[in-house]
Symmetry: C2
Subunit: 332 residues, 2 copies
């Protein structure tokens, strides 16, 4: 599949189950706003039972980024595991319909006996999303799922930090990174989540120092990675290891550290922020698309901001309109 794609993403294949809630819901159920927590089946059932009527939309951080890249016009592929069930069909349909190469039947990348993973996402009135993820089949991703030829043929390999929660997925990371670097390709990583960084800050530090060429993180994640008081300080540290460090700052935009220089780029204002789910994922899509086109870091960051602005304007973490059309004026 997809030999010679621009970007291959490796991550959790998830279907998002999205409902609006009041802030009280977070308190009642012990949820930390804007975070992602892994949950077991019992906890997922309790939370789902307490949620109001929901909408199901395909998600998964790196998968969202690949969908964004395809919408922008890059050739993207995704590696992740779904179950042999209805939600697995939904995930596979949606990512292929988005134009992303996805092989769910080959050995290794194939379907699992476990049910397809889902992320229970509650959106509070401030448009913040809080996620409780039941990984299911996604948790079975391991080194065997990494198609080395696909990775070696891709200009960029994009790794989702969430995968670090499991050892086998961490091994898949290493295998993919080795295959990419062996072919002279670049490896990008997103830190994904503050708690995730806290749990694995040593392995993440090593990965960033030894392996990662392009690092995506928000301010909190970067601060936590280096136990720094200040995000800019952490950015400087990371900049010593990676060719590119891209730090998102929410409504304040983003800062890119490249070749010892900092580039500040504002966010793209939207009429109404409806649901921030996927903001970071789509920012990464825009940025990576810029890299595929060989653009400078500031322009890449602008494309990221444009792609993010589309996805926070509606419910769901994947683009609903053509991002290629959206960014065309900027690239003209």
């Amino acid at each position: 599949m997809g030999a010679g794609v621009d970007v291959v993403g490796i991550g959790n294949a998830l279907v998002d189950v999205i409902a609006r809630v009041d802030d009280d819901f977070l308190t009642t159920h012990g949820l930390v706003k804007s975070s992602m927590a892994l949950v077991e089946a019992d906890r997922a059932e309790t939370l789902y039972g307490a949620m109001g009527p929901a909408v199901e939309v395909s998600g998964g951080s790196a998968a969202n980024t690949m969908a964004g890249l395809a919408s922008l016009g890059s050739r993207a592929a995704f590696i992740g595991r779904v179950g042999d069930d209805q939600l697995g069909e939904v995930f596979a349909h949606d990512i292929r319909a988005a134009g992303v190469a996805f092989d769910d039947v080959a050995p290794g990348t194939g379907r699992s006996g476990a049910p397809t993973g889902r992320s229970l996402i509650v959106v509070t009135p401030d448009a913040q999303r809080t996620m409780s993820t039941l990984l299911g089949a996604a948790s079975e991703l391991g080194p065997d799922d990494v198609d080395e030829a696909l990775v070696a043929g891709a200009r960029l390999t994009y790794l989702e930090g969430y995968l670090f929660d499991r050892e086998a997925a961490g091994e898949a990371f290493v295998k993919a990174a080795d295959a990419a670097h062996g072919a002279g390709r670049l490896v990008a990583l997103t830190l994904s989540d503050s708690f995730c960084v806290e749990r694995f800050h040593k392995p993440f530090q090593r990965l960033v120092a030894d392996t990662v060429d392009i690092l995506f993180a928000n301010e909190d994640e970067l601060r936590l990675l280096y136990a720094a008081d200040d995000a800019d300080e952490a950015l400087a540290v990371a900049g010593g290891f990676c060719a590119l460090v891209v730090m998102t700052r929410g409504a304040a935009g983003s800062t890119v550290a490249a070749d010892g220089r900092l580039h500040h780029v504002p966010a793209v204002p939207v009429d109404r922020v409806v649901d921030t789910t996927g903001a970071g994922d789509l920012y990464a899509a825009g940025f990576l698309h810029g890299l595929v086109l060989g653009l400078d870091p500031a322009t890449c960051a602008q494309l990221g901001a444009m792609a993010a602005s589309e996805v926070i304007s509606h419910v769901g973490a994947r683009p609903e309109t053509s991002l290629a059309d959206l960014v065309a004026p900027r690239l003209a």
Copy 2:
């Protein structure tokens, strides 16, 4: 479950799979705009494969109406069949989370070995929805699924015309209507779809003449029911049989025939019509809620128009906001 509810609905338990398409999609796949066609698994697979990334939301005509009634503050119950699968869980969760009593495990109303039914819904730029429905487990609804005590205890029983496509469901209709009338309750029917009326216009005529107290239909459906040239003429005929005939006219509003008099009520304008899926279902919810409250036909029609205006303002056929809050000013 739910003894003494206000309204019990009997219909197809479906999950909607919604994607936006261009008009070309309808031509290419031989779809008739705004209609509902029943499809087999092969055809569903072809259509789904051709559709872009989709959103899954619980649907089903009478189920949507019951969700609307619950949102308005009426006590509602639903009878329909889901499969023992992920989409069945989604349907059951969503309708209960909407506040509707639904029993998917009792004998009769229980789960089926067939997969949960789904409706592939494509929405064209004019916001019209075109549906291709794979009934699955919903097609197994029969007389045994009708809980006579529930029906006898409900003030109104609401039947979905789509069910007429199968004999066993038609028998379920008769059993429910008998139970309702035996307890001195009212029976409402929606004609659901033009093709459905064409296929079954004789049985529908008999049902309307012998059994139905309150009939919901749009202009086309009513015309086709009596092979009339003119919708108003058909309305007059139906008015000779039913205590209430409620004819929806899309953007032109609705006309109610009651006790030999006609009441014209305008539609409620909306900023932007996004997706007309569920417009008729939610109109019925508003109207039935008015009947539950003992209001006059014109006020019932106004509540119907208000409920419909909410559901056409977003993707999906169930309310996203509290309809009770929406109609509160009208009921103050």
